[in-house]
Every structure is written in C-alpha cells, then in structure tokens.
C-alpha cells in the first residue's frame, strides 16, 4: 500500500494548473487520469515523473517524500506521448539505456533487454533504429524502454493517441495484460473515455485542475458524482428538475412537464432545490404514444451507428433527447423521423446531480 498525494498551487503565470489535488494510488493498480485537454492530467503526471516542480504540496512514493528528487533519481519511468525514442540508437540500445545508467553488469543488461523485447514481442527488431519501425512498433519500444528498469510505477502519457483505431484497441488489451503480468502500478493519462473505461482499475476524472470523481469504471459511468462527470463520460441527457420528496438516497423529482420521476441522488438533496437528472441514452426506451408516459416528443432524426440506432427526439419545449437502442433486423420496428413517441426510463437509471 502506498500513497501519492499532491496539493498544488499556481503555475508560472498564476494559472492554477492543478488546484489542491489529492490522490491515493494503490499498489499494482491500473490507475487512469481522465479529462479533457488542459484539465491538468498531464501536469500531474509530469509532477510524479519529476519534470514539473510543485508550487506547494507533497508527493509520496511508498511512504517516501519524492517531490525534491530530480527525475533521474525517481524509481518511476515514463512512456511519452510521442514516444521520445532516441533516434540515433538501435532498439536494443534504447531499451538498455535505463539499465546501463543504473549500472547493471553487461550480461544482466543483455538478458533483461531480451526479456523485455520478448514481453512486447519485438525480438526480431532488436537491431533496427526507431525510424525503421512503424508507429505501433515504436510504441512497443517506448513501452519496453520504460519497463526494462522495472520501475515501481510506470507513467503513460496518452501513449495510444498516435495510433490508428485498430491498433489502439489491440494495445488496450495488451497494456492491461502487461500491467497484470508485471504487477507494476500503471498511471495512465488519457482524454479518451473508452480507453479509460476498458483498462482501468480506477479512474480519476479531472477538470480544470481538480479531481471531479475517483472510482471504478462502473462507479463513474453509472454513478457520476456531478454534471461534469456525467456529461464527459459517455453520452447523457440532462433534464432540469426540482426536488419534490427525499427519503434517504431515493428522491422524487418533478420534471418541467409536471411529471414525477424517481431517481437516485449523487449527494445531499434538499426538498425544493433545482438540479439536473442524468439519464444515459441507452436507459431510455421509445414506445408508441401513451397517456402515462414520462416524456413525449417527436422523432427528429434517426442515426444508424452499426450496432445501435440513435433517435434524436424533440420534446415539446424544444430541447432534444438522445435515445439509443440496439439496432434490430426488422428496420420497421424503429421509429422514423416525424413519428410521435413516448419515452420511458429504465428503473433506477435516472440519477440526480446536485450542482
């Protein structure tokens, strides 16, 4: 068990890159920092690596304070976004770089380089130079180079962003299994929620230099803590509501059309306050018009997404709701533009966000 904690003040121009961020990252964990660009996730990673200095706050690694150590004294290695492979060195020399600096004897360096090359399945490319490799291969070399010294923590700064979709998907699986195989703590930075959701043990969603929510993929997707998280992770529909009754975490809210909706609350909700209800598009069901419907509207557009259909439904007040359903064989079952429809929410799927 180990602790990493950061409280960080302002950047050079007084912009708060990170404002009072505190996190505990567990041993052997695949931890992801997720957020839009400029949210401070990369800054946080660079602080752990030692490339950025803290304005205030402290960083611990296995109980040891490391914020004053230069990067070359930290048992932490990084996979850089553009890989930053040494262009004048062969794959072998790139991977051996860290080991040689640590003063391992030649025989052990050779053996570890071979092992690491095997781990990332690059054995046959050992003598090539980075320029002679494809993007995906360079990515593996960068990974191997950072893994070879067996760091306690591996930092990955959007390492998949330069790869094409197919390769990216394959690498996700590979990274996750590498992490499980090596038992090294991975701290992974990305703006891609799909990456975060598929690989991470836990995710910290960041925005404007603050951590919005920390939790497992399920926590974050199903139980977003606030509007930002709900909106950023996946797609969601936000409806304005007023809190009607509260009993524990079960809350009844009144929609703008006067209907009542039972929701789960993300925080303390007081009767009479206004807030938003988040409903994922796949938790809504379209039905032919019914009298007892929660919402009704007119289908504006139908978007075919391969596996899914997405209906954009216009409500009487002009706002638009997204509904997602599995695409079925019988296209006639899908509602088309202009159809009047009613909307039903799957039980327990609506969540109140108190801003």
């Amino acid at each position: 068990m180990r602790e990493v904690e950061k409280i960080f003040g302002s950047g050079s121009t007084g912009v708060h890159a990170l404002a009072g961020v505190s996190l505990d990252i567990l041993d052997n964990e695949f931890f992801t920092l997720l957020g839009p660009s400029g949210c401070g996730k990369t800054t946080l990673l660079r602080i752990i690596a030692g490339f950025e200095t803290l304005t205030s706050g402290r960083v611990f690694l296995f109980g040891e304070e490391i914020e004053d150590l230069p990067p070359n004294k930290r048992p932490v290695n990084t996979v850089f976004q553009q890989y930053a492979l040494f262009p004048h060195m062969s794959v072998t020399d790139n991977i051996a770089f860290g080991l040689r600096r640590l003063g391992y004897p030649k025989s052990e360096v050779d053996q570890r380089v071979r092992e690491t090359l095997d781990l990332v399945q690059l054995g046959e490319f050992a003598s090539r130079h980075p320029a002679q490799l494809s993007g995906g291969q360079q990515q593996r070399v960068a990974l191997a180079r950072a893994l070879a010294p067996r760091p306690k923590v591996l930092l990955l700064d959007e390492p998949l962003s330069a790869l094409d979709l197919k390769l990216r998907q394959a690498m996700r699986v590979e990274l996750k299994s590498l992490q499980e195989e090596t038992g090294i703590t991975f701290i992974f930075v990305t703006h891609d929620q799909e990456e975060a959701l598929t690989m991470s043990d836990r995710i910290a969603v960041m925005s404007r230099g603050e951590v919005q929510q920390i939790g497992t993929a399920h926590d974050i997707y199903d139980r977003p803590r606030n509007r930002f998280v709900a909106d950023f992770i996946g797609e969601t529909n936000l409806l304005d509501v007023t809190v009607e009754t509260v009993s524990g975490t079960a809350v009844a809210c009144r929609l703008k059309n006067g209907k009542l909706l039972d929701v789960a609350s993300a925080g303390e909700a007081a009767v009479g306050t206004s807030g938003h209800v988040s409903i994922r598009p796949e938790q809504l069901v379209l039905t032919p018009p019914r009298d007892d419907a929660l919402l009704e509207g007119v289908v504006d557009r139908l978007i075919y997404l391969g596996t899914d259909n997405q209906h954009l439904v216009q409500l009487p007040d002009g706002s638009e709701i997204r509904v997602r359903s599995q695409a079925v064989r019988h296209a006639d079952e899908a509602f088309g533009p202009g159809d009047k429809v009613s909307l039903r929410v799957n039980p327990g799927a609506a969540r109140l966000l108190v801003d």
Binding site: A49, P70, P71, N77, T78, A84, G98
Partner: protein, 310 residues
C-alpha cells in the same frame, strides 16, 4: 483501362514538370559553373604558368611554383632540390590555429546557441540579433579595433595596471593569442547559428526521456543531446574552420609577421610588384587539395561507420 489512362496522364504531367524544372534551375547551375568553378579552374591553370615580374602571368607551362613550394634550390636557384618546410610550416601553423579557433568557438558557441534555443520563442530573435550585431560592422574595422584594445598601451592593459592587477602590460598583440582572439571573434556566429538551428529543432522530450531513465545531466548531454545536434555542430565547425584557415586580416593585423598564416602568404603573392601569381595560385591549389583529401577521407570513414552501424 481507366486506371491506365490516368497513369499515362500523370506520367506526362511529371515529364513536363521535369523539363520545366531543368529550365528553371538553369540560371543557378550556370551561375555556379561560371562564378564558383570558373575561378578554381583559373587558379589551377595559373598555378602551372610562368610568373611575370610585375604581377600577372606569362602563358608558358611551368611547374616552378610547386617546385618552389616544396623544394629549396638555394638563393640563385641553381643548387640541387632539397625538400624544405618553409611553406609547409605555415600550413601546419594555419591548421593548428584554425583548429584551436574552431574548438574555442565550439566551447563558447555551443552553450550560447543552447541558451538562445531554450529561451521563449518571443525573445530568441532578440538574442540571435545580439549575436550578429558585430557583423554589421566591417571585419577590417573590427579587427583594427581589437588591435587597439589589446595592444601594450591599450585599454585592457592600462586598466589592469590602473587597478593594480599588473605592474607591466601583458604582451598580447603580435602573439598567437591575439590571432586566436581575432579568429574566434570573427567567426563565432558561424558556430552559433547552425548549432542554434539544430538545438531549436531538437525534441526536448528526448532529454526528459533520458532523465526519466536515470541519466544525469552530463550523460544526457553526451549520449542524447550531442548526437542529436551533431549535424549542426559539424556544419558550425566547417563554417569556422575553413575561413579561419584562409584568414589573413586577423593574422596580419593582430599576429604580426611572425604569425604568418596561409591567407597572408597567398595574399602577399597577389599584392604589388613583389607578388608571384603562379606561386600564389599553387599555394591555393595545395590548400584545396589538402582540404578535399580531408573531406574525402572523412566522408569515407562516415560511410563506413554508417554501414557498420546500420
């Protein structure tokens, strides 16, 4: 069929373009041929002609100039040829001086270039401009000013004496040191600019990667930064070394007669009645041959390194 037609179309376009390219490049090729190769060819021819006493040449084949360069035939030129070092010594001194100047420029120029390249983009231009400011002043004027600055009764010596650091002036003028100073000062920007260009293109993530992989600052410099900016360093060294080798202002004005360099030797041959054009041309040809040989061996060795490395 459609594919074939498109292919032919593309081919004819590129042929037309190639023809056009030849014509557009013609002015450059002609200029290079006439004004760069022409003079070298002229020198090669002059070096094997007979000298005319008031300067100029007589169009009559003779190897006398090369003979004079390598062999001593006594005061009246009637003794048997004896190999002598008189002129080669000047060449060796010039190579040493130029090498030292290049190393000095590199030692001072590299940190300068690195400093400038690592400033924020907005202030880099100002720094670059500052480095090049002296070059808006004529080289002759600058060299003469340097002479005044370092002479026995110049400001440097007088201040040092006035502040009690020295009792008697240090002898700086007419020494190798003075020549070095002149060469270094004249050619420093030629070192700074190409290195700056290389460092500016350098991806500093590589330095971070090295530090991340436990390399100290020095190791990072040696193993990562220097190899990455090597082309800039080589360009800078050539740009300083070559003109230093042929420089005549600094050795003449700052070094005095003792510290004669190739440039001065050649200059003398084309100046006034004492000149000897064929001999001057021969001196230039010997220098050119040496430089070409050096470049040739360097290139061959590089090719070997590249082959064994790849």
């Amino acid at each position: 069929m459609a594919g074939g037609a498109t292919g032919t179309g593309g081919h004819s376009v590129s042929t037309a373009y190639a023809a056009l390219r030849t014509w557009l490049l013609a002015p450059s090729w002609i200029t290079i041929a006439i004004f760069m190769l022409g003079p070298v060819l002229l020198m090669a021819i002059y070096s094997v002609l007979t000298k005319e006493f008031r300067g100029g040449v007589i169009w009559e084949f003779s190897l006398a100039s090369y003979d004079q360069f390598f062999f001593d035939r006594g005061l009246f030129g009637d003794e048997p040829p004896k190999f002598h070092w008189t002129y080669l010594a000047i060449y060796i001194r010039s190579f040493v001086q130029a090498s030292v100047a290049t190393v000095l420029c590199l030692v001072i120029g590299f940190p300068t270039a690195y400093f400038i390249a690592t400033r924020p983009a907005s202030t880099r231009m100002v720094w670059l401009f500052l480095v090049t400011i002296p070059y808006w002043v004529n080289l002759l004027i600058r060299t003469v000013s340097m002479k005044f600055l370092i002479r026995d009764t110049g400001p440097i010596n007088e201040w040092l004496i006035a502040f009690g650091v020295l009792d008697t002036p240090i002898k700086m003028i007419n020494t190798d040191f003075a020549v070095q100073l002149g060469l270094f000062y004249s050619y420093l920007p030629f070192m700074v600019l190409p290195i700056y260009a290389a460092v500016e293109r350098y991806d500093f993530a590589l330095s971070e990667a090295a530090a991340d992989l436990y390399a100290s600052r020095w190791t990072t410099l040696w193993l990562v930064l220097l190899p990455a900016v090597k082309p800039g360093i080589i360009a800078g060294c050539i740009l300083v070394f070559v003109p230093s080798l042929g420089a005549f202002l600094a050795p003449d004005l700052l070094g005095g007669a003792k510290n004669f360099m190739i440039g001065s030797l050649i200059e003398e041959q084309f100046k006034g009645a004492a000149g000897n054009w064929p001999f001057g041309a021969a001196c230039a040809m010997v220098l050119l041959t040496m430089v070409l040989l050096a470049v040739f061996f360097y290139a061959r060795q590089q090719a070997k390194v590249a082959r064994s490395g790849g």
